[in-house]
């Protein structure tokens, strides 16, 4: 729950407040293209932080990949090499066993079926894998044979191995089926007697032992080891690459003295790793085939982890970049907005102050000539009254009365102008706003009654007492309420209610349900001589004076209006009036 809240507040931070400001600004007040700046900031920051991460990860990728490949190659070479040694030893050992027998035993012993069978039993016990044993004379006739088949007296004269053995002294065959239709290997050894005469000891080996050696290698599921001959025929069974004694599905690796590893592709197109070795003194090639995907399994899981870390870092970086960019641009935006507002406010209050000064100056300068007119007209009036000659002249009397009345009216205007600009001496005292407003309303009850206006006051009893100037406040509320009355027809409704706009401030709103103030007038409403009362009288100074007074008390006045629905004026005042107002230069 807390996390959720946190996320929400985080999201609020990430939200660009300025987004609309850039696009729908109608007044052309764009100090800055926030969107562009925001996007620019995000792009640059993202690039700067993501490119190194990407490069780093790419390197890690490559290095890890290579490392794993290398390790596999090495492992395969080692395994191939070890197996080759085992196989070489396997054949050597058996050949040596025959060699020992042929040297140790006399021909007669070997030619005796009982003793030969005894030797075979010993061989089977000591080495295993021997199936039978036979003695062949120089004409190729098997003169003695022990084993499961009836092969005595068989002639091998025309067989290739026979010739081969005569020539080389020993022979190791490929795996073949032979007469008995079972895969086996022949090893044969020649012993020369005198010069021209010789005999051959021949043994057959089971390939089970070979298969055992190969399957004892601990290979993973899809990998295997097998033996083929130099033509590529499979000598031991293979699960994946062909049938026994047939051509394997893989290319024959080129000859090398040492164990080798090469990468290749199998029939199905999947990459494989082949370790191979030519086994010395034999027609065999050891093949060790691993599936690359199998080998790279570790790499894939590692890569998955790397990808995750990469993804998370990218997302985290992007969030941070987005957050910082938005925060920054939001701050700039807020500062700009604040400045704009301050500028606007300064402009309007500055304008009012200069207007006030001008008004005061004009009022003062006009007062003297006005007094001259007034006094002279007064004298004329006096003369008319005293002099019998003019006493009956009603027209002259009316003319002079009109002059005097106009002078009086002008005097009233200059007096109000001066009041607008006047520097009040404020007397700060504790003020209960509710009581103050009730006091003001008592002046206006009669008018309200007469015009059938309902008045609602909603100020809580515990509303803070403020320290301000009583006289000014009285004047402010009198003006505002009066104004509201003027805006309403008979049967209107006036609401006065309290607000707490900020710590240390109180607000009093005066709301009428009168005609409202047109949008275009709202900016000028506080200026002197601005009036909507038109012919109905009024000098247009009421709100200017109110504005001046509110500013004097270090408060603010704002308005909210809807045509046909009414207007709300809100006066915000500090609870504690501290020092002189900024507008003290406004002295008359």
């Amino acid at each position: 729950m807390n996390l959720f809240k946190y996320m929400v507040s985080l999201a609020a931070h990430l939200k660009p407040r300025f987004w609309k400001a850039g696009a729908s600004e109608t007044q052309g007040q764009i100090l800055f293209n926030y969107r562009k700046f925001w996007l620019f900031s995000i792009t640059v920051r993202s690039l700067v932080s993501l490119v190194p991460i990407a490069i780093l990860f790419m390197f890690t990728y490559m290095l890890e990949n290579k490392a794993i490949k290398n390790e596999n190659h090495l492992h395969t070479v080692r395994l191939t090499s070890n197996t080759r040694r085992t196989l070489t030893y396997f054949f050597e050992e058996r050949l040596d066993a025959l060699r020992f027998i042929i040297q140790e035993e006399k021909f007669e012993t070997l030619n005796n079926p009982d003793s030969l069978s005894y030797i075979l039993r010993n061989l089977q016990r000591g080495f295993g894998g021997f199936i039978d044993l036979g003695l062949i004379n120089e004409s190729g006739l098997q003169t003695n044979y022990v084993g499961p088949f009836d092969l005595k007296q068989r002639n091998y004269r025309d067989q290739k191995w026979f010739a081969n053995c005569i020539e080389n002294g020993s022979y190791l065959s490929e795996v073949f089926l032979g007469y008995r239709k079972l895969p086996h290997i022949i090893i044969a050894l020649k012993r020369a007697v005198n010069n021209d005469s010789f005999y051959i000891l021949r043994a057959t080996l089971d390939i089970k032992k070979l298969i055992q050696i190969l399957s004892s290698l601990e290979l993973s599921e899809r990998s295997e080891a097998f033996i083929c001959n130099r033509e590529g025929r499979l000598q031991t069974p293979s699960r994946y690459y062909g049938k026994l004694l047939e051509r394997m599905d893989l290319p024959i690796p080129e000859f090398s003295r040492y164990s080798q590893v090469k990468e290749a592709v199998d029939n199905a197109g999947s990459p494989i790793l082949i370790g191979y070795a030519y086994i010395e003194n034999s027609p065999y090639i050891l093949m060790l085939v691993k599936r690359s995907e199998e080998i790279m399994k570790g790499w894939y899981s590692l890569r998955k982890e790397i990808n995750w870390i990469f993804g998370i870092s990218v997302i985290a970086t992007l969030i941070v970049v987005l957050g910082i960019s938005t925060l920054m641009v939001n701050k700039i935006f807020d500062a700009d907005q604040k400045r704009l507002r301050a500028m606007e406010r300064l402009e309007s209050s500055g304008r009012l102050i200069s207007i006030g000064r001008l008004a005061a100056g004009v009022a003062h300068e006009i007062n003297n000539p006005l007094a001259v007119i007034g006094e002279n007209a007064g004298l004329i009036d006096d003369i008319f009254k005293l002099n019998k000659e003019y006493q009956g002249d009603q027209q002259l009397k009316e003319l002079i009365a009109a002059v005097l009345e106009s002078v009086e009216r002008c005097g009233e205007i200059t007096k109000q102008l001066l009041e607008f600009a006047r520097h009040f001496e404020t007397k700060i005292e504790a003020i209960n706003l509710k009581r103050t407003i009730s006091g003001v309303l008592s002046f206006l009850r009669k008018e309200a009654l007469y015009r059938n206006i309902a008045i609602d006051i909603d100020i809580p009893e515990d509303f803070p007492v403020i320290y301000s100037d009583y006289g000014s406040l009285q004047q402010i509320f009198l003006n505002l309420i009066n104004n509201a009355f003027q805006a309403m027809d008979k049967g209107g409704r006036l609401e006065i209610f309290a607000t707490r706009p900020a710590e240390g401030y109180v607000g009093i709103s005066v709301r009428d349900n009168g005609c409202g103030i047109p949008e275009e007038d709202r900016n000028e409403i506080f200026e002197p001589f601005f009036t909507t009362k038109g012919m109905r009288g009024g000098t247009g100074l009421g709100l200017s004076i109110t504005f001046g007074l509110v500013r004097k008390l270090r408060g603010e006045i704002s308005l909210d209006s809807k045509i046909g629905e009414g207007t709300t004026f809100t006066v915000t005042l500090p609870i504690r009036y501290a020092g002189e107002s900024k507008n003290e230069a406004l002295t008359g």
């Binding site: 003062h364 007062n367 003297n368 007034g374 002279n376 007064g378 009086e408 005097g411 520097h423």
Partner: protein, 120 residues
């Protein structure tokens, strides 16, 4: 009742004096502070109508000097330039009343009549 009207504007001073005279006051008009003070030294007056903006001496200073020499003399301030502050100063210095120009003559008349009644 003898009244001295002090105003830099000759037209105002003379007309005002004339009108007061029509209402039964004995009046003299002067147009600057020095003349006013000199006149007060020579003659006895019961009241003064004083403008605050005078060509030579500031009206408030004139008031101060008048009050120094003649503490009981009633001074009414009639000014077109006076600010609230000025008026307050004047009242503190002992002016009887302060009026902003243009003032109705009736107010002046009433003030002096009241003063006259009080003096009796």
């Amino acid at each position: 009742m003898k009244i001295l009207v002090v105003d830099d504007e000759k037209k105002i001073a003379d007309v005002l004096a004339e009108r007061l005279r029509l209402r039964g006051f004995e009046t003299t008009s002067v147009y600057d502070g020095t003349a006013a003070l000199a006149r007060l030294d020579r003659e006895d007056f019961d009241g003064v109508v004083l403008d605050l903006r005078l060509p030579d001496i500031d009206g408030i200073e004139v008031l101060r000097q008048i009050k120094k020499k003649f503490p009981t003399l009633s001074v009414v301030i009639l000014s077109g330039h006076g600010t609230e502050q000025d008026f307050k100063t004047c009242l503190k210095l002992g002016a009887v009343a302060c009026f902003q120009k243009p003032a109705k003559l009736a107010t002046l008349e009433t003030t002096f009549n009241l003063l006259q009644t009080a003096a009796k």
